[in-house]
């Protein structure tokens, strides 16, 4: 035995690759931190609360992007929630198994569509729709902006959230549901009183994972958010997200401090998505322990 054994070589290779992946993540974190240092030194905590983003006068506050990202992501989550819940419940509990499998395949395909396609679709269909609504409401009819970005994000994370909810509900033990039916509960009462409470932490974790996706989504959002680097004044306003300001300005940033500020936004986004994902994984782990 020893190094010559193919089994051992494979074992070590796998270990090596897994460790490599961990180092890659840490490495990305360090690189971002390194690149952010000038901006960190120059602005400190003011970077997080500063409302002005003015590359010409070298004033860099990231609050508008933080706000833009949070509003669009949480907005998307809230918009998608009723649809994700109802389609997850439908697929797990109501649809005949064959229909459910077919629909789930379609949903998985939706999740695989490149984000630029969603962006194009949003430009052609969502923008006019939002503009029409805005005219009815009497606000400035940009068509672009926070509502459009939230909507396209909601559509993009829906398949993801729905299939996680379906999987979680399918894990609910059959004996528990039968116990409830045996007490005279209807199908809806079983879902409401047994399946959802049992799967609640899994559902929350799934929604967090979907939120993680929305937070970092770049292309589709950049196409419809309006790319205005100011604090949004209303939910209908044009805005910018952390991901889209990086995508928009990185290639044009000529000053070192501008670049460094953009990298710091990247670092923030990295930490936020990492945090959300870790939280979701912890919830899922605790679920499996039970």
């Amino acid at each position: 035995m020893g190094w010559g054994d193919p089994d051992r070589i494979f074992y070590r290779l796998c270990w090596g690759l897994s460790l490599g992946m961990v180092f890659l993540v840490i490495g990305i974190g360090i690189t971002l931190f390194w690149g952010s240092l000038p901006s960190l030194k120059a602005f400190g905590w003011h970077f997080l609360v500063g409302r002005i983003w003015d590359p010409v006068n070298e004033k860099f506050g990231a609050l508008p992007f933080l706000v833009g990202t949070l509003i669009t992501s949480f907005g998307a989550l809230i918009l998608t929630l009723p649809f994700a819940l109802s389609s997850g419940i439908f697929l797990a509990e109501y649809a005949p198994p064959r229909v459910a499998d077919g629909l789930s395949t379609v949903i998985d395909l939706l999740a695989g569509i490149p984000s630029v396609i969603y962006g194009l679709w949003a430009l052609f269909y969502l923008v006019p729709l939002v503009r029409w609504v805005e005219m009815k409401l009497g606000v400035i009819p940009f068509g672009l902006g926070l509502p459009t970005a939230s909507l396209v994000l909601a559509v993009m994370i829906l398949p993801y959230a729905a299939s996680i909810i379906r999987e979680v509900l399918r894990m609910v033990p059959h004996e528990l549901k039968e116990a409830a039916y045996g007490l005279g509960a209807t199908r809806w009462e079983v879902i409401r009183g047994v399946s959802i409470p049992y799967g609640l932490s899994g559902i929350v974790a799934g929604l967090l994972l979907s939120l993680g996706r929305a937070l970092g989504e770049t292309m589709a959002v950049t196409m419809v958010i309006g790319n205005r680097s100011e604090m949004p004044r209303s939910p209908w306003d044009l805005a910018n997200t952390m991901a889209s300001v990086i995508a928009n300005e990185f290639t044009e940033a000529s000053k070192d401090i501008h670049l460094s500020a953009l990298i710091e936004i990247g670092l923030l986004l990295f930490l936020i998505t990492l945090g959300v994902n870790i939280l979701a994984r912890i919830i899922i782990l605790r679920l499996q322990v039970r």
Binding site: E175, A179, A180, L183, G184
Partner: protein, 262 residues
């Protein structure tokens, strides 16, 4: 089909009158033309080798069978004169409760809420005193009150297997059913818990009709007044337990009681 003389009608009031009952999984029948009467406020044991359709049979009696994919039922099951196959299954299941083979308290609920699950799930509001009274009454009936009265607001899943099963019995009793179906309720339990449940079954028949599936011939002898013997989906013999055990009329019953098959 079992022939006439091996199916003896019980004396006294009848609660279930079952006529030519067939139950299928897809095209495959699991219960084949069962005809018998179940006596009220008695314990009826359902016996037979593994796979002979005992579970399927009792699941027909509260219409749980039809929840299995592809399941179908034919025939008539009269509950106090009304065919349950023609009433809303939700109503049937409240009149005919079920205790399962594996204890299955709801893990997301406390002991207290588990007992009241038949109300909470259906969104039936109870006044506080009424709820407390129902919980105590059901837990006392299930001989569990003394063991859990100080931990009513802990999760039901903290209890031992035997206690969990009695909690499930309390949960079924709390909605005041007329019949309690029990599918091998002691097969997952140790001898001590088993003895406790058997005692309980005998006690409960004062107020509720019990149909209990059991693999254990001795158990059927200890707890039941009437016994049914199933073989390959057919009801081979039905009659007073003492008679069926001492002078079985069908050869297959006799062989089963001698332990010839499973």
């Amino acid at each position: 089909m079992g022939n006439r003389e091996t199916i003896v009608d019980p004396r006294g009031p009848i609660i279930f009158d079952i006529r030519n009952l067939w139950a299928y999984y897809g095209e495959k029948p699991a219960v084949k033309g069962v005809t018998c009467k179940i006596p009220e406020k008695r314990v009826t044991a359902v016996m037979g080798p593994s796979g002979c359709g005992k579970t399927t049979f009792i699941r027909c009696l509260n219409r749980l069978h039809e929840l299995s994919p592809g399941a179908r039922v034919e025939g008539e099951i009269f509950l106090r004169g009304k065919n349950i196959l023609e009433i809303d299954p939700v109503v049937v299941r409240r009149r005919v409760g079920m205790v399962f083979q594996k204890p299955n308290p709801f893990p997301t609920m406390t002991i207290y809420d588990n007992v009241l699950a038949g109300y909470k799930l259906l969104g039936i509001k109870l006044r506080r005193e009424e709820a407390d009274r129902l919980v105590e009454e059901a837990l006392r009936k299930a001989a569990l009150w003394d063991e859990v009265k100080d931990s009513l607001h802990k999760r039901g899943t903290y209890l031992s297997g035997g206690q969990q099963q009695r909690l499930c019995i309390a949960r079924a009793l709390a909605v005041k059913p007329e019949v309690l179906l029990m599918d091998e309720p002691t097969s997952a339990l140790d001898p001590k818990s088993t003895a406790k449940i058997e005692e309980l079954v005998v006690e409960l028949k004062k107020s509720v009709t019990i149909v209990i599936v059991t693999h254990n011939i001795a158990q059927a002898g200890r707890v039941s007044d009437y016994a049914a013997f199933f073989y390959l989906g057919e009801l081979v013999e039905f009659g007073p337990t003492s008679q069926l055990f001492t002078v079985p009329r069908d050869k297959r019953t006799e062989e089963f009681l001698k332990g010839k098959f499973g």
